[in-house]
């Protein structure tokens, strides 16, 4: 695949497009906030499997009669599976109480207990803090590594792209109110890794072309590099998306949101490494002279391990 697309001509449109998305995401995060899962809110969750189609209304009534007023009842995956959530509760015995209450109500058929989860309030806030810390540390280390391997300008561009990706993925989760739990947080960190992967491949090519290409204008060099790496970027995104969709559709309910976060992340990460990271380099004023002072690092000199 060879491409001759003038990416930088689309620069302004990309910036406007990204800005709109960023504003929407931040706005949604401020107004609607995230639909935090049990991991972060604390509370109790029970998943049950009925031998036949479960009657949600009945279950709700039974729970209200049993004193569980705030219980959210919904189907989970199929019409036989039921998910009952009590966010914010602080007693660790509610799960078993609900199971015995519903089993007694349904004594003619056996209900299969799929899972009970209880997360105490202090754990919820700790997990949230740890997650945030992990994210910041990951970003900091990335910056350091890139600044060490490339040059601080590349590090800046990569982090701009990463922050862009993370905000938009989280924004999408807030906009469509998909539950944000621990696995989604893990996915978000994987998105950082993935998006960075893309950005590095592009940056690597830009650096190489800056040193060797006969072209003088930084814009042209960046454009050439983007075109050279586009084939690889698309193929890798495609294979990753293939496995992610297979996870999304077949991996089961517990993996669904994880896969979804990564799907959004891969799409946005691919876009950002082409438009955002490269644009940031142009805006920050990257040029050949900046690299000349450094020790040249020609890939050909490095033998395989």
């Amino acid at each position: 695949m060879t491409f001759k697309i003038d990416f930088l001509a689309w620069r302004k449109i990309a910036i406007i497009f990204s800005s709109i998305f960023l504003v929407l995401s931040i706005g949604s995060l401020l107004v609607k906030e995230l639909n935090y899962g049990l991991d972060f809110t604390g509370g109790t969750l029970v998943e049950l499997s009925y031998p036949e189609e479960a009657n949600i209304t009945n279950i709700r009534e039974t729970l209200v009669d049993g004193g569980f007023n705030g219980a959210q009842v919904a189907n989970f995956g199929s019409s036989r599976e039921v998910l009952i959530k009590l966010p914010g509760t602080v007693s660790d015995s509610l799960g078993s109480e609900i199971v015995s209450l519903l089993s007694a109500d349904n004594s003619d058929q056996a209900i299969d207990l799929r899972r009970i989860e209880y997360v105490g309030p202090q754990i919820g806030s700790e997990l949230r803090d740890d997650g945030g810390t992990a994210m910041l540390i990951a970003l900091a280390f990335m910056m350091l590594y890139i600044a060490f391997r490339f040059q601080s300008m590349f590090a800046g561009a990569a982090v701009v792209a990463l922050v862009h990706d993370v905000i938009i993925v989280v924004g999408i989760f807030s906009l469509i109110q998909i539950e944000f739990d621990l696995t989604v947080l893990a996915a978000l960190l994987a998105v950082i890794g993935y998006s960075l992967n893309d950005t590095i491949v592009v940056s690597d090519r830009i650096r190489e072309n800056l040193r060797s290409a006969e072209l003088d204008s930084t814009e042209e060099i960046i454009n050439l590099s983007l075109n050279q790496t586009l084939g690889r970027t698309l193929i890798t995104s495609l294979t990753t998306l293939l496995v992610l969709f297979s996870l999304y559709f077949l991996g089961g309910e517990l993996i669904k949101n994880f896969a979804l976060a990564l799907i959004f992340g891969v799409v946005i990460g691919t876009y950002s490494s082409i438009y955002i990271a490269a644009n940031a380099l142009v805006i920050m004023g990257l040029n050949k002279d900046l690299l000349r002072v450094e020790e040249p690092e020609n890939a050909d000199d490095n033998p395989l391990p």
């Binding site: 540390i137 293939l242 077949l250």
Partner: protein, 616 residues
């Protein structure tokens, strides 16, 4: 074109061979099994126990295999239904002296076991079970310690003739002492400085004639870590009593303990035993002349009879019980036979010898928690778990002769109460009460579904990716496909040898690795195509492609690895499982995608001198 030396091929073959051998055990599905071991740790499973088990199950018509392992008898069967049936049958026939646990027994062939190849461990989300996270309330341990010191101080002050008005443990766990006059205070201060090292010195004087004793930082740390250690030991004992194969009881962070019990379904019962802070205390009954400040009135546990006064000083506590066995007395009422350890025996002897004719009270002490609502800084009501103590008299019986190391406790309500009390006494008391701060239970059906879903999505993902690269890169696609497949084999082999735990997010990590590991090959192959387009000779193009892509691959993978390692150190539960497979996958993929494919490509094209083109 660079030639690949023979040693490289041999190295690759060796690694692949090892990978295949060490991932093999995962292909053998484990048998549902029941394991039986003796309750007492001094008794190890023997032929006799195996014969007893064989005798019980001989009439069952399904597949059964009995094996005598190191410290337990293993009964393998074919289905989970039969496994439960076996457990019920054995539990009803073998009473009292054995622990019966459900187990998944590996079926790894002997030659694999001999070279140390074992299957991966499955996480609770794949095999079903309970995960608890418990927070240790170390405040109570500090308070208990101060209570003990206060008792000691009272006795010593009497011996030293130091007169005091008031002595109590305050809410902040400090000891408050008030004296009649300044001289007494000075004398007490001197005495404390000479004899006690655990306090913060200089002592805090609170008003004219009083002292407040705070524990020093060092002492607090020591008490807290002792409390956690004792709780860990106690929990391990209790878990063993519950009968769980491969349980995990581990400290996490400063004040928390993780307990994982694979295969346990009845969480309420498990929690009941694990979280119970019940223990016994032995007190003498208070006499008419016992001062009011040295005795307390307690109700009876069964609610019958008026509350009675016991002396505050403890003869001994449950921690000095060596063994305890539930049984029945001559009237068929439940009782617990207790044997004390040496020190406990002599304490009991000393205390009872001079008090024949008086009554000895057995106090049942239980820590419970309740939820109360407090206002935080912003004025919002927040729920807080508070622990409190319930003390009730089990029995109050006249001492007929000096007691020694063995005696029995009667006055229990039911056989289940006597066996629970015996279990708690045997397993030891918790040094500090614990609250359950996190609980995750996964039923066996969900576990099985998770495995199925994980494996299925992995197969489909692999199939899609392989078809795509075979179609897109042809001969080079074959190299990449082999590399991908071997990447999974190596990943599984490493997970197995490290005995890392595979979880559902872990499977997701493997699937994601499949998608991302292709990247290295895509980078190399795109580069080769580019070089070909520039008019380089095919073999030169291959060389240039591999060389130029290497640094890019290296940088890209190192950054992903950084993320994975951060996930590993900050993450808990699902995040960790994902991070483990992701990190291992990144490392193995570097090997297979670069060295592996290179060897394959060299093998195909390396010897052809006048190559016209490449199938890429």
């Amino acid at each position: 074109m660079k030639r690949y030396g023979l040693w490289r091929y041999l190295l690759i073959l060796l690694i692949l061979g090892l990978g295949i051998v060490y991932s093999l055990p995962n292909l053998y599905a484990p048998d549902p099994a029941v394991q039986i071991s003796y309750t007492s740790s001094s008794q190890t499973a023997d032929e006799f126990l195996a014969e007893r088990v064989a005798d019980i199950v001989k009439n069952e018509d399904f597949d059964i295999k009995i094996q005598l392992e190191n410290d337990y008898v293993l009964v393998r069967t074919d289905t989970y239904q039969n496994q439960l049936k076996l457990k019920e049958l054995l539990s009803s026939k073998l009473i009292n002296d054995v622990v019966i646990a459900l187990n998944l027994a590996p079926t790894t062939p002997k030659w694999l076991v001999d070279i140390g190849a074992n299957p991966m461990k499955l996480g609770l989300d794949l095999r079903g079970g309970v995960h608890f996270l418990m927070q240790v309330d170390t405040e109570t341990a500090l308070r208990n310690r101060q209570d003990g010191t206060l008792q000691d101080l009272r006795i010593r002050f009497r011996e030293e003739n130091i007169r005091y008005n008031q002595a109590s443990v305050e809410d902040d766990s400090s000891i408050f002492l008030k004296f009649n006059n300044f001289q007494a205070k000075e004398k007490a201060e001197e005495f404390i400085i000479d004899n006690y090292t655990q306090f913060n010195f200089p002592l805090t004087s609170n008003g004219e004639n009083s002292i407040q004793l705070y524990l020093s930082e060092v002492e607090i740390d020591q008490i807290e870590s002792d409390a956690i250690d004792q709780n860990l030991t106690t929990l391990r004992n209790r878990v063993n009593e519950l009968g769980v194969s491969e349980p995990i009881v581990q400290r996490q962070g400063k004040k928390r303990i993780v307990v994982q019990l694979p295969g346990i379904q009845d969480t309420a019962a498990a929690k009941n035993i694990l979280g119970k802070t019940a223990t016994l205390e032995f007190h003498l009954e208070a006499q008419m002349d016992t001062p009011r400040s040295r005795k307390t009135s307690y109700p009876y546990r069964n609610g019958v009879g008026a509350p009675a006064f016991l002396q505050d000083s403890i003869i001994l506590g449950g921690d000095q019980v060596a063994t305890a066995q539930a049984s029945f007395d001559e009237n068929g009422l439940p009782q617990v036979n207790i044997t004390l350890d040496g020190e406990g025996g002599s304490k009991m002897h000393r205390a009872t010898r001079g008090n024949i004719g008086k009554r000895l009270g057995v106090l049942f002490v239980e820590q419970k928690t309740k939820t109360i609502y407090e206002r935080d800084e912003s004025g919002q009501q927040v729920p807080v778990q508070e622990s409190y103590e319930v003390k009730e008299i089990i029995s109050l019986a006249t001492i007929r002769a000096a007691l020694g190391t063995t005696f029995r406790i009667t006055g229990l309500d039911s056989p289940s109460e006597s066996s629970e009390l015996a279990l708690l006494l045997r397993a030891g008391a918790l040094a500090a009460p614990m609250t359950f701060v996190e609980e995750r239970t996964v039923g066996p059906s969900l576990g099985a579904d998770n495995i199925k879903a994980g494996v299925f999505s992995m197969q489909l993902g692999l199939f899609l990716v392989l078809s795509f690269i075979l179609f897109y890169y042809r001969v080079f696609g074959v190299a990449a496909s082999l590399a991908l497949t071997f990447n999974i084999v190596l990943l599984v082999a490493i997970m197995s040898t490290l005995s890392a735990t595979l979880t559902l997010p872990g499977i997701a990590g493997i699937v994601l690795t499949v998608g991302m590991a292709v990247d290295a090959n895509v980078l190399i192959f795109s580069r080769i195509r580019e070089e070909l387009n520039r008019g380089r000779a095919p073999l030169d193009a291959i060389d240039a492609g591999y060389n130029r892509a290497f640094l890019t691959i290296w940088d890209a993978n190192v950054t992903t690895l950084i993320v994975a390692v951060i996930l590993l150190s900050y993450g808990t539960g699902p995040v960790k499982g994902f991070a483990i497979t992701l990190s291992i996958g990144i490392i193995t993929s570097m090997f297979t995608a670069i060295m592996g494919t290179r060897a394959f490509v060299n093998l195909i094209y390396g010897s052809k001198k006048n190559l016209e083109g490449l199938s890429i």
